[in-house]
């Protein structure tokens, strides 16, 4: 078929080299990148923050973003890709404004995380890792997020929603999809996934009062302190576990 243009067959390999950012975006990101690089004795240490930065720009780590990181740090794009694909927080495809992560590691799963995750799949009509058609919510299961005393836990854009139930989680995603302002139990009123990624890149949240939001510590964090100060009665009067077991089993 000489003379006819050959139709490209897509075998999933991205076009190389990736296109660059538009000049004004590139200029802005370079300023940010230089600030990040300046925090480290060795420039390569800036790679994880830079990947957060390019994720803040486009919502996921694109080939363009990887090219930018490589050029800023004098690495190959293969080296950058090797790092970007190792860490679970870097997205590899476009996703929702709100990442709703249900903890399904053992303790949260047993305490109700599995039930919450299942209910949200039904309620949203999406599978794990999928995004609602309106582009608002991406549902994911997440691993232990160091909040076991608040189980079961749901993270939205990495802010804590403690002591959740299937009902509260459904109400939460409904609010997110309707554009209503949502406040976590621990953390600041939600910003979008991209705004969150910029904080992760090392640029402090500029919203007034964001640091102070939700108080000093969650109730469970204070359980021991309140007991030690004699401020709370010592629980609902349950006898010790061993004698309870003995009573029940007649040992």
């Amino acid at each position: 078929m000489s003379g006819q243009p050959t139709e490209a067959v897509d075998i999933g390999i991205p076009q190389m080299p990736a296109p660059d950012y538009p000049a004004e975006v590139r200029e802005r990101l370079e300023r940010d990148a230089r600030e990040i690089i300046g925090r480290y004795p060795d420039s390569r240490s800036a790679l994880l923050p830079l990947l957060h930065l390019v994720q803040a720009e486009e919502g996921y780590v694109t080939a363009t973003g990887q090219r930018f990181c490589a050029e800023m740090l004098d690495l190959s794009t293969a080296e950058v890709n090797g790092v970007a694909t190792f860490y679970t927080m870097y997205r590899r495809k476009p996703s929702g404004d709100y990442q709703v992560g249900v903890c399904t590691n053992t303790l949260c799963a047993v305490m109700g995380g599995d039930a919450i995750h299942e209910r949200l799949r039904d309620h949203l009509g999406v599978g794990d890792g999928e995004t609602t058609p309106d582009g608002k919510v991406t549902l994911e299961h997440v691993e232990c997020n160091a909040a076991c005393d608040f189980a079961p836990v749901v993270m939205v854009n990495w802010e804590f929603f403690d002591n959740q139930t299937p009902e509260s989680a459904c109400a939460l995603v409904d609010d997110l999809r309707a554009g209503r302002q949502v406040a976590p139990t621990r953390g600041a009123p939600l910003c979008t996934f991209q705004e969150t990624a910029r904080i992760l890149a090392g640029f402090p949240d500029e919203r007034r009062d964001a640091v102070d939001a939700s108080g000093s510590a969650g109730p469970a964090s204070l359980a021991g302190l309140r007991l030690a100060k004699g401020e709370t009665p010592p629980g609902p009067g349950v006898v010790s576990p061993r004698s309870a077991a003995a009573d029940e089993e007649g040992e």
Partner: protein
């Protein structure tokens, strides 16, 4: 029945437990978390914050290291290595930069102490960093915080800003001509980065995979320079130790495990949360003062320090929670993450889920861990679904044995721990799943809302 609230002895028992709590607990790091601005510099300074800095800076660094060593502070991140000794390993006068890297990658399942500590009192860590950097003669420290905790990152950013503004960090922070820089670095989601050499690779902008040792980080750590990697709670404990003295520190805990620590109660307990007290408390003491298991239920199994520490049962309620006591009971103190599960919980389901976690988080560097955790998941899912046979129990025990101690780093040991320990204590429960029988438990009964009224409509198919 386990509920005693309606009998005549309840009020006396309440008084006893309250008395016990006031006597046994000893909040230090958590002492002012209930103040509305506890995380701020002002609040910290109202509570002797940064008072240990001048005292420490007045000491010769070598004397300071010796002092922390004599106090007996041991690493709170799991392994329990003496903190002062770690500092002492840093070669002096070598002409290279020294680094302090704080491991705030708290990701071990069940572990939830450093995150609330940093949320409510980040300045305790910063003060500890200043003192530690003086000791090891470091001019640049890093806090490697896991990325998935943005509220904590926000407060760390602000606390570091405040500390710079107040002159505790930056130019001449450690004395004339001795600057100190502190960089907060957010990770990007990888449990393995809690392993100290994987953390260093990650902080250098690489995939977080553990390094061959030796050389140890004390000799060739970050950028191949002498580096101390310490857990958040270890470093945050240093200011109180320095301020109040080693005798005060040693007045708590035991000879080999002195000092105070954060215990994290979670799971099917009446009152989950953080409980700070001396090392060596028992789970029975902690449960009795906090209201025990949830009403009407009893303890079945628990972890002393996260899922990587072999599980224990109600036989072990009186084991002293210190490094030696838990070790003698066949487990490890770990992170004092006391995950308590009651009799509604299927141990096979719990172990399967933990194993899925280890398989997901295995970095892929070494074969026993990468392949072993993958096959364990396949076998455990079959067991849970009733598709396995007795020989498969031998097989998971064998695979776990081939991972344990034969992997590149401790993640493999951690993956083997729940399997070996659950087979030891609950083999019959595994057998009850075999040959088509499947799981005999109803997951709906384990949920936090299972015993609440009007929960009948909530269905669980886990």
């Amino acid at each position: 029945m386990t509920v005693a609230a309606d009998n005549g002895g309840a009020s006396r028992r309440d008084d006893d437990a309250r008395h016990a709590a006031e006597k046994l607990l000893h909040p230090v790091l958590s002492a002012h978390w209930d103040e509305p601005d506890s995380y701020s510099l002002d609040a910290y300074r109202r509570h002797e914050g940064y008072a240990a800095v001048p005292k420490a800076l007045a000491m010769d660094p070598d004397d300071l290291i010796a002092y922390v060593k004599e106090a007996g502070l041991r690493g709170r991140g799991g392994a329990g290595f003496p903190t002062g000794m770690k500092w002492q390993f840093i070669p002096q006068g070598d002409g290279k930069p020294h680094y302090l890297v704080v491991n705030a990658d708290e990701s071990e399942p069940g572990t939830c102490k450093d995150i609330p500590l940093l949320f409510a009192n980040p300045h305790a860590l910063i003060e500890g960093i200043i003192i530690a950097c003086h000791a090891i003669r470091s001019a640049h420290a890093f806090i490697y915080l896991r990325g998935e905790v943005v509220p904590v990152l926000r407060r760390l950013h602000e606390a570091v800003r405040e500390a710079y503004a107040a002159g505790f960090l930056g130019k001449d922070a450690l004395g004339p001509g001795k600057d100190l820089e502190l960089t907060v670095h957010a990770g990007a989601g990888a449990y393995i980065c809690g392993e100290e050499t994987a953390l260093l690779d990650s902080l250098e902008g690489r995939r977080g995979q553990p390094r061959l040792r030796p050389p140890f980080p004390a000799v060739a750590g970050l950028y191949a320079c002498p580096t101390v990697v310490n857990n958040v709670e270890s470093i945050a404990s240093v200011p109180a130790l320095v301020l109040h003295g080693k005798d005060w520190f040693r007045s708590m805990g035991s000879e080999k495990s002195p000092g105070f620590t954060l215990y994290s109660l979670s799971g099917h307990v009446a009152r989950p949360g953080q409980y700070e007290g001396p090392l060596g408390l028992t789970l029975r003491q902690l449960l009795e003062m906090s209201g025990g298991m949830r009403p009407g239920h009893r303890l079945k199994f628990w972890t002393p320090g996260g899922s990587s520490t072999p599980m224990l049962t109600d036989e072990h309620l009186d084991v002293p929670l210190d490094y030696e006591g838990v070790g003698e009971a066949g487990s490890m103190l770990g992170t004092k993450a006391l995950q308590c599960f009651d009799e509604t919980t299927c141990v096979v389901r719990a172990v399967t889920r933990w194993t899925e976690f280890y398989a997901h988080e295995s970095c892929g560097k070494c074969t026993p861990c990468r392949e072993g955790t993958y096959w364990l998941v396949q076998l455990l899912r079959d067991i849970d679904a009733g598709k396995a046979h007795a020989a498969d129990l031998e097989k998971i025990a064998d695979i776990a044995d081939n991972i344990n101690g034969k992997s590149f780093c401790a993640l493999g040991d951690g993956a083997a721990a729940p399997i070996a320990s659950s087979l030891k204590f609950f083999r019959e429960e595994y057998e009850a799943h075999l040959c088509g029988r499947g799981c005999p438990f109803d997951p709906a009964k384990s949920t936090a809302w299972a015993d609440k009224p009007n929960s009948a409509h909530l269905e669980v198919n886990a």
